[in-house]
Amino acid sequence: MQTNAWKKFAALYGKEMRELLPEISVVLGLVILITGIHYIKPGDYSQLIVLPYIMLAGLVVFLPFISSGRLSREWSSNTIYLMMSLPVKGGMLLGTKLLALLSQYLINSIVLVLAGMLLAFPELRTLDSAALNQLNELLAQGMGPMLLAYLLSIAGLSYMISLSFFSQLAGKLVPRFSKLFTVIIFIGTFGLVGHLIDLAVTPVLPQLGFDLAGPIRAAEHMELVNKFLAVNSLILIAAALLLLVLSSIVYNRRVEL
């Protein structure tokens, strides 16, 4: 007699999201603070707000990767005893952790974009109709690449988080100097996967239309950027999946307490 796999998945995902709540809240708090200052004291701090906003954007991108180190915290807090005694495989356990970290990124990045729009709103109101039309045109042209760049950031994060999981689990196989081995495995795997991607992708680049040695015409430029972003996203998603599968195998077959 077993419970529904979705029920297990939802319980694990809910637990992960609850654990990420303080970090999500801190980012939301900072966004509200920056936006609030801009609206309460318009003009006074307009220039000063740009730098914190960019730093916040960096935090939003890197925070899920930093939070992926929580996997090791299951060991230090002994909750790994609970996790490993549950009737779930590593794939579900790590999958929910990855999904929660990506959710953290999605929530924070959407809030950041909305805050950016709010910050830009007073400036936009001063533009005349010709300037607004030009801006609309630019946005319409750039929407595709921007969405693809966002997809690339999700793919890149998935890859880095999976790599972090893999190195932490592989590090646990070495009881002594576990942290040192985690770092070595992380750097080694990062280099190895990068090299493998280079080996696999470089020969097929011309077939995909990438002829970086040749001249690039302006009309082809946007298409090339889109293709570049899409291909890189797919490669990173494939690498992330591979590392997640490897991590699951290590968790299911090698990790013990």
Binding site: M1, Q2, T3, K7, K8, A10, A11, K15, R18, E19, S77, N78, T79, I80, Y81, L82, M84, S85, L86, P87, V88, P175, N252, E256, L257
Partner: protein, 231 residues
């Protein structure tokens, strides 16, 4: 039935289990006794699928332990619950994984153990945490209940509550209970079978009543006698 067949396990230079052959009688309460480092906790972790043998095999109901985690309720010695959860959240979390979770039994045990659902794990005493762990393990109709040092560092009144819960809740013939403990006198009246482990091997095992009758002494005295000679 739980069987250990020629099981060996080593952690670095330390031998935890040394070619252990052992079987636990189904539907009975077995006390797993022995000094520190005898291999009691390792044995329970192996049954729960948290450790793997270096050599030999373990069969739980004819299967490898990893395949029957949903029929095992494991209560480790350490605090393994998420400190930010309250008892209600911890129960909800466990309920999601086990089809044998019994909500009515959970409510009864909650009242019996004097616990409040709103109590936060990080804020409660060691005794209350021990009772919470027992509550979450015993609220299930699990085929196997494994208790690793459930009375360790707990005051006498809480120990009694835990023992009473085990007596009250035990389903004779249906459930196999294994209790690993140093507090032999506390569980003396509870166990049907006993296994004394020493350095990863069975030193003595058998029916508790028969052993007491044969040797004319209590289980605590038997252990002292056996291990005094061993050392």
């Amino acid at each position: 039935m739980i069987e250990f067949i020629n099981v060996s396990k080593q952690f670095g230079a330390t031998v935890a289990l040394n070619n252990l052959n052992l079987s636990f009688q189904p539907g009975r309460i077995t006390g797993l006794f022995g000094p520190n480092g005898a291999g009691k906790s390792t044995s329970l972790k192996m049954i729960s699928g948290l450790n793997r043998p270096d050599r030999g095999e373990i069969r739980v109901h004819g299967q490898a332990p990893v395949g029957c985690k949903d029929s095992i309720a494991y209560l480790p010695e350490i605090d393994h619950l998420y400190p930010w959860m309250n008892i209600k959240q911890a129960a909800g979390f466990m309920q999601s994984f086990y089809a044998d979770w019994d909500e009515e039994k959970y409510r009864e045990l909650l009242a019996f153990l004097n616990l409040d659902e709103q109590m936060k794990i990080s804020k409660i005493s060691k005794g209350q945490r021990a009772k919470t762990k027992l509550l979450l393990a015993a609220a299930r109709h699990s085929r196997y209940l494994l208790l690793d040092e459930p009375l360790s560092g707990i005051d006498i009144l809480t120990r009694e509550e835990i023992i009473q819960t085990l007596i009250r809740d035990y389903r004779e013939g249906e459930q196999t209970v294994i209790i690993s403990t140093h507090e032999i006198d506390d569980v003396e009246a509870l166990v049907d079978e006993v296994v004394f482990l020493n350095r990863g091997q069975v030193k003595l095992s058998g029916n508790a009543d028969q052993l007491r009758e044969e040797k004319g002494m209590s289980l605590v005295e038997i252990m002292k006698e056996e291990f005094r000679h061993a050392n």
